[in-house]
């Protein structure tokens, strides 16, 4: 059970990365991005491309760092992929979502457009890489470390926790201390008032997509490092992402962090009683429960 809990935290931290991005986009654009899971997929595969393609051609060394399952190539691929997927999200916004926003399209049309985007991204991945499962480093043995209290955890997974903590801390500082970060919080609170105050809300929207996409990419890569890559990996995350964001109160970044951990642990612990393939269903059940019992989430006030 302890192992399940520990792995639940690892998985949950990956879910948090996606949920934070999802909730940021929702908070600022009031838009449920059904393509967010597939942005995670895109991130994982862009990293795969970089590691097996350009970085290989550039002659960047391939050895792994000690007990970890990756090396310099992945270390460099991570930021590259984050920027690329941030750009991908922004591209979809420019080409599709923004046009619909300016037309005054309703919530549903926008959500449908993001559903379409999710399929487009997934099909592109399938066209370029096929439907087989992929690994960043096939055939590598990855033994677990034994820690006190009977906790077993792989070195990769420790790094995942560190990386997520790092990214979340950076985001926190950005939102609290920088001018653009505060502008993002203001826009999420009240976009009209932000405009009235002279804040360039278009720039805020650009930053939002870049950050949301980047975090999703990181989540996808970390999952790929820990488990595997396949074209449907992001879609399988969609329910947990939404569950986490809603649980933590939609629009609340810190809530999404907590929500992600809760969902991750719940999903892992559920494997003690249910088949692992039911994990998305577990996330879904929790989401339905929250929507019935406390739709405003853990951190929501009594207002809707």
């Amino acid at each position: 059970m302890v192992e399940l809990f520990v792995y639940g935290i690892v998985l949950g931290s990956i879910i948090s990365l996606g949920a934070i991005g999802l909730t940021l986009i929702y908070g600022i654009l009031r838009f449920a991005n059904f393509a967010h899971g597939d942005l995670m997929t895109a991130g994982a595969y862009v990293a795969l491309f970089m590691v097996t393609g350009p970085f290989s051609w550039l002659g960047i060394p391939d050895h792994t760092f000690g007990a970890l399952s990756f090396g310099w190539r992945m270390l460099l691929a991570l930021p590259v992929s984050m920027v690329a997927v941030g750009g991908l999200g922004l591209l979809f916004d420019r080409i599709v979502f923004r046009k619909l926003r300016l037309k005054g399209s309703g919530v549903v049309i926008l959500a449908m457009a993001s559903l379409g985007a999710s399929f487009i991204i997934r099909m592109l991945v399938l066209i370029l890489w096929g439907a087989d499962y992929r690994f960043y480093r096939p055939g590598l043995l990855r033994p677990a470390l034994e820690l006190p209290l009977g906790v077993k955890i792989r070195p990769d997974q420790i790094l995942i926790l560190l990386m997520v903590s790092f990214l979340v801390s950076v985001l926190h500082l950005f939102l609290q201390k920088t001018k653009m970060g505060k502008a993002m919080r203001a826009t999420a609170d009240n976009m009209d008032l932000a405009r009235i105050s002279g804040i360039d809300t278009e720039r805020v929207i650009i930053w939002t997509w870049m950050i949301g996409g980047a975090l999703a990419a990181a989540g996808g890569i970390l999952y790929g490092i820990d488990v595997q890559l396949h074209a449907g990996m992001g879609w399988n995350f969609l329910l947990p992402l939404f569950a986490a964001a809603i649980l933590g109160t939609i629009g609340n970044m810190y809530g999404a962090l907590v929500g992600g951990l809760v969902i991750g642990v719940a999903q892992q612990v559920s494997t003690a009683f249910l088949l692992p393939t039911y994990k998305p269903a577990v996330a879904f059940m929790i989401m339905i429960l929250i929507l019935i019992i406390r739709p405003q989430g853990i951190f929501g006030g009594s207002h809707s």
Partner: protein, 233 residues
């Protein structure tokens, strides 16, 4: 004269709310706009601030035609606007709300921040509190403070006393007078016609989207018709 509204006709979608409205604001004046609900008072403020495009007419600020400019541009020209509702950033602190007010300033605005805190001392005390937790009166102060951070020449206030307890209403009007003393011209739309006219240098009565009366604040207070129709409550 710093703000001149000429023959404005404006409305939402097909229907015109305002019909050929004229209004002038002189430097340092308080201009109060009163009238029944639905007269178009708020619509007039929105049109001045560029939230609404007029079908006809002009908005002229210091001899510059600013008709139809977007709010982001107008706020940079020296007009600030305080909406009636949703006029603060609730999840941010008082200090952060004021900082957002100063967002487009490129200079060191701490001096201005101090001035605003001098005007609203209780805000200084509670500046690290989230605005969503404040009372209505304090929120209104934050709303006005945010708008003042840019040192505007003209401040547009949409029903600042709406929803406030009677005790706070006179307090708010006191503060509006104090703001005006510092040299800011104020255009105030109000349901509370009595108080609005008492402090006004000039008053306008709007009904059915048209200007029906236009006189000094004192003259309007003494006007029988105005008294009967609008000052009863």
């Amino acid at each position: 004269m710093i703000l001149n509204i000429e023959d404005i006709t404006a409305g939402y979608s097909e229907v015109d709310i305002l019909h050929q409205v004229n209004l002038q604001v002189r430097v340092g004046e308080i201009v109060s706009i009163i009238g029944p609900n639905g007269a178009g008072k708020s619509t007039l403020l929105k049109t001045i601030f560029g939230l609404l495009q007029p079908r006809q007419g002009k908005v002229i600020l210091n001899d510059e035609d600013i008709t139809g400019l977007r709010p982001e541009k107008i706020v940079r020209k020296g007009i600030s606007y305080v909406p009636q509702v949703d006029n603060v950033f609730p999840s941010m602190t008082i200090q952060e709300n004021l900082e957002m007010g100063a967002f487009i300033r490129t200079d060191d605005y701490r001096h201005r921040l101090d001035q605003i805190y001098d005007l609203f001392p209780i805000l200084r005390e509670r500046r690290k509190h989230k605005v969503g937790q404040l009372s209505g009166g304090q929120r209104q102060m934050v709303a006005m403070g945010r708008a003042l951070m840019l040192d505007p020449q003209v401040l547009l206030l949409d029903e600042p006393s709406a929803g406030l307890a009677p005790l706070l209403v006179s307090h708010i009007f006191e503060q509006i007078r104090e703001i005006n003393v510092t040299g800011v011209a104020i255009v105030i739309v109000e349901q509370n016609a009595q108080e609005a006219l008492k402090m006004a240098h000039h008053g306008y009565v709007l009904a059915m989207g048209r200007k029906v009366l236009d006189d000094t604040g004192d003259a309007l207070l003494e006007n029988e018709e105005v008294g009967r129709l609008y000052l009863g409550g």
